[in-house]
């Protein structure tokens, strides 16, 4: 009995230092991958959803939501592997949930994409069914960026959804349907045009995996 008591005492004595040790380890700075946020969320949400009354920000990542199997699934749907040191399983994604009064009006989500001369930040505003309300490139370094960032180019994507992208391979630039009909406004920047479309398709797939598939599963 006395032996058991001693063991219990030792256990109790160990719990506190171990908990503190865990706390300290958790406090160590982690060198994570870079995410993609709106430059000015208050202003950008109001611009993309003029009727909105507020928004909520949440953060997620593939490694938190499904790990390796989810990554493989996203890659399969995208038709391309995640590549490079910056497109990894632990990239944090910021999802802006937009409200109009108490009603949820839609989402805003952005992804980073490697472009020809620098990182491209591609944002979409989506309605509750996953249809694109707005598409725009927040950042792009290219001589022809102006053409790709032109609102007239972005307006062509309004009303499209992930279903429209399923018949289109942005990496090869081939496919059919409404997406295939969208013309590159800067033929000199074909690589950046395809990169923007790849980013958009990836964006829609991720939103489907993170948000819409979960909402469809609701009773």
């Amino acid at each position: 009995m006395r032996g058991e008591g001693s063991i219990q005492m030792i256990r109790k004595a160990l719990v506190f230092p171990l908990a503190l040790l865990l706390l300290l380890v958790a406090a160590l700075p982690a060198l994570g991958a870079v995410g993609c946020d709106l430059n000015d969320p208050d202003r950008d949400v109001a611009r993309l959803f003029p009727d909105s009354s507020g928004y909520k920000t949440s953060y997620t990542a593939i490694d938190k939501r499904g790990g390796e199997p989810l990554l493989r699934e996203v890659e399969k749907r995208l038709g391309d592997r995640f590549h490079g040191i910056y497109e990894t399983i632990d990239v944090p994604y910021t999802i802006y949930e937009v409200y109009s009064g108490r009603r949820k009006a839609g989402y805003i989500h952005g992804v980073n994409q490697k472009g020809q001369f620098g990182g491209i930040q591609v944002f979409v505003a989506l309605d509750m069914e996953g249809r694109i309300k707005s598409f725009y490139i927040q950042k792009m370094t290219s001589q022809w960026a102006k053409k790709l960032r032109d609102p007239r180019f972005g307006r062509q994507f309004a009303g499209l959804s992930l279903r429209d992208f399923e018949a289109y391979d942005p990496v090869a630039g081939k496919g059919s349907g409404r997406v295939a009909e969208i013309r590159n406004p800067a033929p000199e920047a074909e690589a950046d045009f395809r990169a923007a479309l790849r980013a958009l398709k990836k964006n829609l797939i991720l939103m489907d995996e993170f948000v819409y598939s979960a909402e469809r599963g609701k009773p």
Binding site: V34, N39, G84, Y86, Q113, G119, K139, T141
Partner: protein, 394 residues
């Protein structure tokens, strides 16, 4: 035969709660003391390391020219003023100078960065001298430029991460539409170099159409008189000199003020702990007057009693001291985080540096101060008169 140490130990165990509380007091004060001494040492070392990581201790630039990349970005590169590159030759031959490197800072407006556009900053550095100033740079990928006029760039860790660049990729200098090939990506340094894009000096001069420079970085010889060199540099026409030694001295003065305050608190904590020691031992002596009297009738000399009581003090102080130092070692990282939150400027790396030498020094201080506190109770115990104490009511 039972030893003096065993008797002292058993005496302390008689009143466990009192002994434990005294131990906690000593432990906490030694924790604070060793952490503070560790901070004293660690902060200065970290600050020196940060300044060494700059690569140079002095910077010479045109009067009124911003020298911080952040300032340059805020001003959109409009505040830049230039100095002749020939000025490098007039500095490099001075006896106090170890190495010199010319730098050209340039900022270009990128209309496609965000909504209203943004500034992209570039550092033109001499391919030969700049790398020798930054020997601590480690490459994540690739290396330095292949020649001094190459259309190449080396990117800091965060710059590469933001632009999603790898070695072999291209970057575009906005406004000028010049393409550069990324030949190296640096490991994270924790300094402003992480967000910097380095380009060969001559390449950046060619891109911007400027044959001058903005800054000269000077590494001073170890034993040289930095102040004398600084004064001499001020004689050069239309320049300002930024000395990191001055910056360091200013920061150290600020920190010293805070340190004196914390040290005072540590000393007060130690005095309170020692008052606790005196109280505990004195109480223990007063409770054992009859016992001490009997020991004396059995032949114990005042010196024996003195050493017996003093041994109790020694056990208390050394155990509390060791426990406190142990805690300081275990929680050094936590202390580091807390100090970082409180300080207005905290250099990178370990701020609370505790090593064995410091731990032993603190333990010695605690034990010596504790033994001094124990003199009075031990002396009082040694002076107990055997017959009076035996007659007294227990």
């Amino acid at each position: 035969m039972i030893s003096r140490f065993q008797i002292a130990y058993k005496n302390l165990l008689r009143k466990k709660a009192r002994t434990l509380l005294t131990l906690v007091g000593i432990m906490l004060s030694s924790w604070v003391l060793v952490s503070l001494l560790g901070f004293n040492r660690g902060y200065e070392a970290a600050l020196n390391r940060d300044i060494d990581n700059m690569g140079y201790q002095l910077m010479v630039m045109a009067k009124g020219c911003p020298y911080e990349a952040a300032t340059m970005m805020l001003q959109g590169g409009t505040g830049l003023r230039y100095i002749e590159q020939s000025m490098v030759d007039s500095i490099v031959h001075r006896s106090e100078v170890d190495k010199v490197t010319p730098i050209l800072m340039q900022a270009f407006f990128d209309p496609d960065k965000g909504d209203g556009g943004g500034i992209a900053g570039y550092f033109g550095v001499d391919a030969e001298t700049f790398p020798t100033m930054k020997p601590f740079f480690r490459f994540r990928q690739g290396g330095w430029f292949h020649d001094e006029q190459a259309a190449e760039a080396v990117m800091g860790y965060e710059a590469a991460e933001l632009e999603q660049r790898e070695v072999g990729d291209k970057i575009l200098v906005p406004e000028k539409n010049v393409q550069l090939k990324v030949v190296g990506i640096l490991e994270r340094t924790g300094t402003q170099d992480d967000g910097t894009i380095f380009v060969p000096l001559k390449t950046l001069q060619k891109i911007s159409g400027i044959d001058k420079i903005t800054t000269i970085g000077i590494k001073v010889k170890k034993d040289a008189d930095s102040a004398k060199l600084e004064a001499a540099l001020y004689q050069l026409p239309d320049v300002q000199v930024v000395s990191f030694t001055q910056v360091k001295q200013t920061i150290m003065k600020l920190v010293a003020t805070a340190r004196v305050m914390v040290l005072s608190i540590a000393i007060i904590a130690m005095l309170i702990a020692m008052a606790g020691v005196v109280n505990t031992i004195l109480m223990s002596v007063l409770e054992r007057l009859q016992e001490i009297g009997i020991l004396k009738t059995m032949g114990a000399m005042p010196g024996d009693i003195f050493i017996l009581v003093w041994t109790e003090t020694l056990i208390l102080c050394s155990s509390g001291g060791v426990a406190g130092i142990g805690l300081a070692f275990v929680f050094a990282r936590l202390s580091d985080i807390l100090v970082r939150r409180v300080l207005p400027y905290a250099p990178g790396g370990e701020l609370v540096a505790i090593d064995l030498k410091l731990a032993l020094l603190t333990l010695a201080v605690i034990v010596v101060v504790g033994l001094l506190s124990g003199i009075y109770p031990a002396w009082k115990a040694g002076r107990v008169r055997p017959l009076e104490s035996i007659r007294s009511e227990g």
